[in-house]
Symmetry: C2
């Protein structure tokens, strides 16, 4: 992934939406927590945008959040690259007209109240005005954009964030296009916790000018994007979408949610973006044809995005399961079979090799139940290595990632002696247990999915997240995630076979 100054998309018409040099903001004031515009301006400032390049516009206020305000966009000393509008919908056409007069070519219209609630005339007006002035706009009825990759001159760790969400996930190679501001931003808290590393996110709104297809084209070329998440309520340019998706998917996986297709959902969507949503079956067939991975669960979607962002795609659907617990082994084996995965019995050869590292009371099989085992080196290195090198599995799930902070605390509190070998830092554990095996994982394309039941806030678990290793708090999701990885690999393999024929 490259920084912005090497970005080949510098001249793309969408580039200034994510990387504006200057911005004017309509609808902000000083009334935090009761005005959406005030909150959104706050986050633009807080993200590190150069203050002298932010121009609030307000009829009465002289100063907004410490910035000089202007009565009209026409009064501005220069033409901002981007205009951001959060006003009552009936005022939007006039303001948009003035933006056109000022020569602004890029506008985000956050305001709701257009065709999604039946205001067809207002909708027609803004489309017409934009056409008159060659304005491209995102929205209306959206939260705008988030770009963790933009580098402001003054702040290294900055982001461009027009959404009102103050939590930002760690920067990564996942980009989002959402016909829902919630899906594009409210998930940020949990993304931060789970390690879903989002680089860019677009709340695309009613798509009356710029649509999902436009951003899909953009992200296809974007060197900072490796995985694309989309939330769909309708696709306006269906044919273009399908043709484009077919090209994108083999290069960059697309994970989609389609929220329409039921009666109550359609009613909800009509009032949300004003779209008419089609039957589920149509979308199912689109997803199948294009190789798009889809789900209707927000958690699945987030986990799938995270899984694909590691970029390791297995060669098949054979799963090896390592666990210190028979129960979760049995549950994972059952879930695997239900999802069409193969949990093969190991060969005699592999069994005899594994025997060395497994307690006598344990059965040597797949799932491999280690029972009580605190030899961390065997768990993290020796056993997975044997499985990978055997060629008998295409992926591994490893249950039993435990950090020792709490347990050492308790032992110390109770006056017990601790073994020094366990009283080592996470840094050292990371060096010993995580890095060497990952070289093999990448070389052989056998992903290891880890489970650490202490949860995402445990310090040792956070080391996995920092290192971009797929770690899970419990054992439902790793099976599902391996299943979609295997599905994607199969699709890509079939595609390349078809092409060769």
């Amino acid at each position: 992934m490259t920084e912005i100054n090497e970005n080949p998309l510098m001249d793309h018409f969408l580039h200034p939406f994510l990387n504006p040099k200057s911005i004017c903001v309509f609808g902000a004031n000083n009334e935090f927590l009761s005005t959406m515009g005030a909150m959104q301006l706050r986050y633009i400032i807080f993200g590190g945008f150069p203050r002298n390049q932010i121009f609030p516009i307000h009829l009465r206020l002289e100063e907004i959040q410490g910035l000089k305000a202007y009565k009209s966009v026409l009064d501005l000393p220069e033409t901002p690259e981007l205009a951001f509008i959060i006003l009552r919908p009936d005022i939007v056409p006039q303001v948009l007209e003035e933006c056109g007069q000022k020569g602004i070519k890029h506008v985000i219209i956050t305001s709701g109240g257009f065709r999604e609630i039946g205001n067809i005339n207002l909708y027609k007006k803004i489309v017409q005005i934009a056409n008159n002035y060659n304005i491209r706009f995102i929205g209306p009825n959206c939260l705008g954009v988030y770009n963790a990759w933009y580098r402001f001159p003054e702040l290294e760790d900055a982001c461009f964030n027009t959404m009102w969400i103050y939590a930002t996930p760690e920067k990564g190679n996942i980009s989002i296009i959402g016909q829902s501001g919630t899906v594009a931003s409210h998930i940020f808290w949990i993304c931060r916790e789970m390690g879903v590393k989002i680089g860019k996110s677009i709340s695309i709104g009613n798509e009356d000018n710029i649509d999902t297809v436009d951003f899909l084209e953009y992200f296809r070329e974007d060197p900072q994007t490796n995985v694309i998440g989309i939330y769909i309520e309708e696709i306006k340019r269906g044919k273009e979408f399908i043709e484009l998706a077919k090209k994108v998917v083999p290069e960059k996986p697309i994970i989609a949610i389609y929220a329409g297709g039921t009666e109550a959902a359609s009613r909800s969507i009509m009032g949300h973006t004003g779209s008419i949503a089609g039957d589920d079956k149509i979308f199912e067939s689109v997803f199948k044809d294009t190789g798009i991975i889809s789900t209707i669960s927000i958690k699945d979607w987030m986990y799938y995005l995270r899984t694909f962002s590691t970029g390791i795609f297995p060669n098949g659907n054979r799963l090896g399961i390592i666990t210190d617990s028979g129960g979760c082994g049995a549950m994972m084996a059952k879930a695997s079979e239900k999802l069409g995965l193969n949990v093969p019995e190991f060969s005699e050869e592999l069994r005899s090799k594994l025997k060395k590292y497994v307690p006598d009371v344990a059965n040597i099989d797949n799932p491999l139940d280690l029972t009580f085992q605190f030899n961390q080196y065997n768990l993290y290195i020796k056993i997975p290595k044997l499985m990978i090198n055997s060629g008998e599995v295409d992926g591994i799930i490893l249950y039993a990632v435990f950090g020792f902070e709490e347990v050492l605390d308790i032992i110390k509190e109770s006056g017990g002696k601790t073994y020094e070998e366990f009283d080592i830092s996470n840094d050292m554990m990371k060096r010993i247990y995580l890095k060497p095996i990952q070289r093999l994982v990448r070389k052989k394309k056998v992903p290891i999915l880890y489970i650490g039941p202490q949860g995402y806030n445990n310090p040792w678990v956070r080391e996995f997240i920092k290192a971009n290793l797929p770690i899970f708090d419990l054992w439902d999701m790793p099976v599902k995630c391996f299943a979609v990885l295997a599905k994607y690999s199969k699709y890509c393999k079939k595609l390349s076979t078809d092409l060769r024929q």
Copy 2:
């Protein structure tokens, strides 16, 4: 729920397993982190068990973890109420024999290596010895028990915990019976985070003497248990189980995982508890007949337990959805329909009443999308109240639970003024926004399921968990949880109708 001294189960044969007055421990030493027995003794001590009532038995050591050790159970100055064995399996019969000679009647055998790995002779031996001495035992091949309700004389906030898991969830009315130590204990960390409040948990192991049916009987009578979670790999006393479950379910919901029924799972189970697991379809029909709620997902199971522990069962399957986000509203509406729930259109009357509390740009419908709304009183009180009193819904999902700590911090850091009305303590918010509406919820039996996307560690979200209100980090689970509540209610209603006829 009552404290232990009023417990009507004082004389039940299982009572001393959860509430032993004294305990002897075989297989503990001072080698923490490499010996399971050492860890387990550590947690018994750490839980607050009176030190002078713990008797470690060891051939060579004089002192174990600060406690006087004895060479043999026969040397003990008194007969302990419970014996706890974590030894190599081949030594177990001899030790069990000595326990019998000493007059011990209750034994937990943690050791693995019996019929689950084909050691049928060893298995037969321990069953025979127990019969000879009228010993009842849990296990072998288990982690023992956890009881947060036991009150040790010396420590108010104590628990009896033989499992090696050092995290303990908040105490509550959920009891677990698991043919898996993992399911009975490794979930504790996430339970603590999510607010799944477990009072008692049994890792039941191979069930060679005491089985799931025994504990189901016990928990049926237990005043500290309102919801029962079971993890099943096989049911040995099938007929008894079905008859008992039919009686228990209308009094106390049972949430089950059945881990068998597929090839790889059966292989895994055979090596785990030595059981032969039956076809999925058999269990599906058992669950249907008995009204047991089942799942094969560990997260679902935990969420269902938590949901049922609130004890509010709706009268039907009509769901009202309140959200500040069209996208998550649409997704919930879709998920609801797929699960057979009804998201009804609101009547004209209800719409006109709601209009007062909803911004102009919003559509008044179900899902009700409030768009941007920071009037917390409307959100938490006025709008749900109107919905409940309308009689048009049987349950409500409320998206948009936000705490303001982070946002106020950012506003303050940025030098902005804050509205004092928002700068209130969680305590005050709790008093205003949570308690009054809960009286109505309980009276009308219309549960409200909350969603707070800031996650379970957010202080305001934790207030919900403290208050036993069902709060979720994202929007997949509340729909699923309401669906199982509605399913349970329907089962109970049908049952009472059948009985009247």
